[in-house]
């Protein structure tokens, strides 16, 4: 029986080649999209799950309230680890991981930049990064030891044994390789090329016992059989003991499986994160697959008149309804199988660009039996979904009717086929509107005045001897005509690295916990950045030597502090008095989609990491960069001239939204593509079934235009209906999405107008080819066939 089903399925595929191609290609595209989304999701879900002790690993989180808002974040005081270990009995051990830094690393003639993380000696006991050479227990004990990854070892030492080799870091420190570990996998939160022991940091004076300095990440490994809730309950008392001034604040342990997917908190309550994207894309993947399945359903049932006779005969000679349902489901599973094969080819072809786009390394594992099982299950499921309705529909034909030719196609105002087309186009139109709104939002934020002049502005991290030679570098950049203005700052203009509520001023309310962005800059900051000065002046140490403790405020800070006349006011921060010399207009330090925060900029007594300089517009950019490179090489010879254009860094702030926009566009395109294939199939079928009607109309004098309109009208009505359903839906969705942005665009009417016109146009183009072809045919031919 199965053989007979397969045989007839294959013959049907061959007989209706066009329909089969549309069916298989449509399903394959849908399946390929679903597979890609599935690969991405499984990669996201697999994050940090490879650690053997994953059930016991937690990250310590901080909680604090700022002006009535409860915030959670995962940087902690460096002292926390030690206190946790001694006070919370459930904790077996703790380990800290500091920010990853790039180090200039030399071994013999070889020099590389190496990404290093400073970690506690327990790091390799808590996290599973397999040690290939050396001893994991002692590898990070010694302050002059270091652990490197396999690929770094190969880069530096080739095939030689790395253990005991001495590396020179930043031309200052000598560290001995104590162990080699496997490179961290792509789905690891920790990405490093080298691990430096915490004791090294301490020996360099980088450790502190200050509870107010939230500057590192702290991880805890619980004892087997203990409960994180019990530990968390104890952390309430723990906070009081260490005397924190915020009654709502505190610490809590956050489990490893929620790091990647959640980690978003609103008012102290976990509220989504990556999981939201996973949900959205799961839904989108399912929708695209469903749309492809709908094509299959529509084309199969449209073809039903051709199959009706077969159904009748089979029933007359003894087929039961379940036999026929089995046959039709078998056919759809066969088509799904062929589509599944094609989908694998499509996925393989698009995977490289997909990986570039998502920044992941996802691949198809052909040796994984589990993956094949899933693939077969997926095909079966797709085949069943796609085939269910046709099987139900076709197997229900009455032989007495179909064999007498009394079978009539349904002319009802609402039939399932029409409903399915409307469903498809509703999805497509929602996605088009979303794409347009997302892009409009991006453009809206892009056109927002960022508060400074990004043009020709470059920054360079002060590596090696840059800080020591800062004045020389600055003078040479200016005297050579490379730059017109130079300043140094604590962080790039596009990034906020520090904030505080611990600043004091005259008139500050006792319970005021306004969070201020903290920034430091040298003289000529306002000039170099092109900021707008509202009151007072820029830093100027030459005219005002006391400007080393001067401070600039932005307008939001002036408002937050309640100053009527800010110039000359004194602020206290980090045990020092700072005098306000100027007020600037707010500029965008963080997200261009968010409100600007109160901010202060401390003068030369601050700390500095970055040089900003504005290139001389009189020269070409390449000429300027060439000169700048030689100047930096001269004063910081060991390091490469790694510079960043501020406008590029600023542009990167739109990356996430841009990706979302591109994804929405991609999915909209795919949905439209698949839907149009289905529409084309239906139009072809319709033109064929109305062949005779067209002939009669032409004989009676109908024009080509009127026939084309007649044939296209039905489909256009459906698309119009889809548009009417999709528009409010998309509006609701996008309104909700925009809610999360403080600086947001409006959802204008033109978006709907454009979408409506475009979708109608697409539908017209898809159906009219067939309609015109039918209208142009010779009526003699169609009427003779009777």
């Amino acid at each position: 029986m199965l053989y007979s089903y397969l045989k007839i399925a294959f013959r049907n595929l061959g007989k209706y080649k066009g329909f089969s191609a549309i069916n298989i290609l449509g399903l394959a595209v849908g399946m390929a999209s679903a597979i890609l989304i599935f690969l991405w999701i499984s990669h996201e879900i697999s994050y940090d799950r490879f650690h053997e002790k994953k059930d016991r690993i937690y990250e310590a989180w901080n909680k604090g309230s700022f002006n009535g808002k409860l915030s959670c974040w995962n940087t902690t005081p460096k002292i926390l680890a030690k206190a946790l270990q001694s006070d919370i009995p459930e904790i077996e051990t703790t380990t800290r991981v500091n920010w990853t830094d790039s180090y200039l690393t030399k071994f013999g003639e070889k020099t590389i930049m190496m990404k290093a993380s400073v970690v506690d000696s327990t790091f390799l006991q808590v996290f599973s990064f397999p040690v290939l050479k050396g001893d994991s227990a002692s590898a990070l004990m010694n302050p002059t030891g270091t652990v490197i990854t396999l690929s770094t070892a190969q880069k530096l030492f080739g095939n030689e044994n790395p253990i005991g080799k001495i590396l020179e870091l930043n031309e200052q420190y000598q560290l001995t390789v104590t162990a080699v570990v496997q490179d961290p996998p792509n789905n690891s939160r920790f990405q490093f090329e080298c691990l430096v022991p915490w004791s090294f940091l301490r020996s360099q004076g980088g450790d502190d016992d200050y509870w107010g300095n939230n500057s590192t990440r702290t991880y805890a490994l619980l004892k087997p059989g203990t409960n994180a809730e019990t530990a968390n309950a104890k952390l309430v008392e723990f906070r009081k003991k260490y005397d924190r001034d915020d009654p709502k604040g505190g610490f809590f342990l956050y489990p490893i499986e929620r790091w990647r997917l959640y980690s978003n908190f609103t008012e102290g309550v976990e509220e989504g994160g990556m999981i939201e994207y996973i949900r959205i894309f799961s839904i989108v993947g399912a929708i695209i697959l469903l749309i492809a399945c709908i094509n299959f359903m529509n084309l199969s049932t449209a073809k039903s008149e051709k199959r009706a006779k077969e159904v009748g005969i089979r029933k007359v000679i003894g087929a039961m309804r379940h036999n026929l349902m089995g046959q039709f489901l078998g056919e759809s599973i066969l088509i799904a199988f062929l589509a599944g094969l094609l989908a694998i080819v499509l996925v393989q072809l698009t995977l490289p660009s997909f990986n570039t786009f998502t920044g992941k390394i996802v691949r198809l594992d052909y040796t994984n039996a589990w993956a094949w099982t899933l693939w077969f299950g997926f095909i079966l499921l797709t085949g069943l979904i796609a085939g269910s309705y046709p099987a139900f529909f076709l197997s229900g034909f009455q032989p007495t009717k179909v064999l007498k030719g009394a079978f009539k196609k349904t002319q009802a105002a609402i039939n399932p086929r029409k409903v399915l087309v409307v469903l498809q186009f509703t999805f497509a139109i929602v996605l088009i509107i979303c794409t347009l709104v997302i892009n409009k939002q991006i453009n809206h934020a892009r056109n927002r005045n960022n508060g400074y002049n990004k043009d020709q502005l470059v920054y360079y991290f002060m590596t090696g001897t840059t800080e020591k030679n800062y004045t020389l570098i600055k003078n040479e950049l200016l005297s050579s005509g490379t730059a017109v203005s130079v300043t140094k700052t604590s962080a790039p203009l596009t990034e906020g690295w520090s904030n505080t509520w611990g600043i004091n001023w005259k008139g500050k309310q006792e319970n005021d916990r306004t969070l201020f962005d903290r920034f430091c800059a040298d003289q000529q900051f306002v000039t170099t950045a092109g900021l707008e000065l509202v009151k007072g002046r820029d830093f100027d140490l030459e005219t005002h030597p006391s400007d080393s403790t001067a401070i600039l405020l932005n307008e939001s800070a002036v408002a937050a502090m309640g100053f009527k006349d800010p110039i000359g006011q004194t602020l206290q921060d980090n045990g020092r008095d700072w005098t306000v010399v100027g007020v600037i207009k707010d500029f965008i330090l963080h997200s261009p989609f968010a409100k600007t925060q109160p901010m202060f900029i401390q003068g030369a007594k601050g700390w500095f990491n970055v040089i900003h300089f504005r290139l001389n517009a009189a020269n070409s950019v390449s000429e300027n960069l060439k000169k700048a490179a030689s100047i930096f090489k001269k004063f910081n010879p060991s390091y490469p001239f790694d510079y960043t254009f501020v406008d590029e860094a600023y542009g990167a702030k739109f990356e996430e939204e841009k990706k979302m926009g591109s994804l929405a566009a991609l999915f909209a395109g795919l949905t439209i593509f698949i839907s149009c294939m289905g529409l084309f199939g239906l139009a072809t079928y319709m033109a064929a079934t109305r062949f005779k009607e067209i002939g009669i109309r032409k004989v009676l004098g109908a024009s080509v235009a009127s026939i084309t309109t007649l044939l296209s009208k039905d489909f256009l009505t459906l698309v119009l209906l889809s548009f009417l359903i999709a528009s409010p839906l998309a509006w609701l969705l996008m309104n909700q999405w925009l809610e999360s942005y403080a600086y947001k665009t409006a959802i204008d009417g033109w978006i709907f107008l454009v979408t409506g016109v475009v979708s109608m146009l697409i539908a017209v183009l898809t159906t009219s080819i067939q309609a015109i072809k039918a209208a142009l045919s010779n009526p003699v031919k169609s009427l003779k066939s009777e």
């Binding site: 007979s4 007839i8 007989k15 077969e310 089979r314 000679i317 039961m320 009455q398 064999l403």
Partner: protein, 225 residues
């Protein structure tokens, strides 16, 4: 074999009600060859559909082989049908996607006959119908007469007790028509009961008895000698 009494079938649409069978009674004995004649719309086809267990009467009794089948559900009807009844249609009704051999084999698949046995039976029947040389052809590659021979082969392959023929020669020229009528006569002589709907007096003469119908009722019976 067949005993029908007071059979009624009414077709209803929103506007009209058509009485297709009006308290019709009829008996057919095993081994008989009966022809049913009458003008279009007299209820011949409805009767044949009910006799073939393709349709259910609205009222009355239908005893088939001693079993009351009026009111049987689709499943039960199909089961009884595939074991006992063969059909021959005016328009042959072969499946275009299957070869001659596969078309004839199909009823055996549905009754669950094992593949090896199927092969033997099908080849036997094709031989009898002199169509063996065309076994791998598709229906559209055959003449009308050949197609109807295949249809007859398919109707008899399950060795049914009853064959229902709906204008079996309607689409054939006279020589092919006679050939098909001879086939049916031969089957009848071998013991198969045959009920045939026809417009052709010539074909009706092959039968033992002609039943004439009008407005859903039998109006006359001619016994052939």
């Amino acid at each position: 074999m067949i005993k029908i009494s007071q059979l009624e079938k009414i077709y209803r649409t929103e506007e009209v009600e058509t009485v297709a069978l009006n308290k019709l009674s009829l008996e057919v004995k095993e081994g008989e060859f009966v022809a049913i004649m009458g003008p279009s719309g007299c209820g011949k086809s409805t009767l044949l559909n009910i006799l073939g267990l393709l349709d259910d009467p609205d009222a009355g009794s239908f005893v088939f082989n001693g079993i009351e089948v009026a009111g049987f559900n689709e499943r039960k009807r199909a089961d009884l049908r595939k074991r006992n009844i063969g059909f021959v249609f005016q328009s042959f009704n072969l499946i275009d996607e299957l070869t001659v051999y596969e078309n004839v084999e199909l009823p055996l698949i549905y009754t669950g006959v094992k593949p090896a046995e199927r092969k033997k039976i099908v080849e036997d029947v094709l031989d009898k119908m002199v169509i063996m040389h065309r076994r791998n052809h598709y229906p559209q590659q055959l003449s009308g007469g050949q197609q109807q021979r295949v249809a007859v082969a398919r109707a008899v392959v399950n060795n049914p007790k009853l064959i229902l023929a709906d204008e079996p020669t309607g689409n054939l020229d006279s020589s092919n028509g006679n050939e098909v009528m001879q086939l049916l006569t031969d089957l009848n002589e071998q013991g198969t009961t045959i009920i045939m709907v026809t417009h052709s007096e010539h074909d009706a003469r092959y039968s033992h008895r002609i039943i004439r119908m009008l407005d859903g009722q039998t109006v006359m019976e001619n016994i052939m000698v």
